[in-house]
Symmetry: C2
Subunit: 106 residues, 2 copies
Amino acid sequence: MKAKSKARFEARAKIIKAMAHPTRLMIVDELSRRERCVCDLTEMVGSDVSTVSKHLSVLRNAGVVRDEKRGSKVYYTLRTPCILSFMSCIETVIKSRAEEQLDLAK
Amino acid sequence: MKAKSKARFEARAKIIKAMAHPTRLMIVDELSRRERCVCDLTEMVGSDVSTVSKHLSVLRNAGVVRDEKRGSKVYYTLRTPCILSFMSCIETVIKSRAEEQLDLAK
DNA sequence: TCTATATTTGGCAATTTAGCCAAATGGCCA
DNA sequence: TGGCCATTTGGCTAAATTGCCAAATATAGA
């Protein structure tokens, strides 16, 4: 049971780690709206294509996004839409933190 | 607007990064049930106290947990309960991934 | 005050990550 | 086939992260 729960936390951490980067969050955010090819995302992000491609492979390996080749382009989509609720939790943490600091300032 | 959204993604990434570790996830999971002192968590986790203390400081700096000193012990609590919905999203990703691999195996 | 317990901090070695360039791969079309 | 476009991969360096030990700090109690 101990080992099993350890494996569970490792599996979760792997996914969370994949999202733990500003650029990858931006990508996830964009993909929550519509599918995008690497070229679209590269333009959005403003880094080298190879960098964006590597970020995408991190997300793909973690199972956060899915890729589909059509013609010479590769389109990425989110695998599940729950990412939005995920983000709303993060925003709650940010807000809670801000409020607490406001209290301290009084 | 561009810089603003960049800062937003960085703020979010900071919090997500704080959770992106199996041990810290285990801690967050435990704290979602009840408050715990460092000694309790150290026993649970099974690492050196200093290691656990550093994990806790990562979570504290990110605003995920709050600490309160009482006597010679320091008790940690979750700052917001939404972490649970956060985890359920992660589980969805894991499940979606598993199902897709099952399909491939057919 | 002296000691034991609880926690944090400093420091260090090993590992992982990020981002760039250059090169390889794959598809499209003249 | 040859050349162009889209994407991935290899390789490299710089920076960040992890986990341990040792040492510092704080509190409670004899």
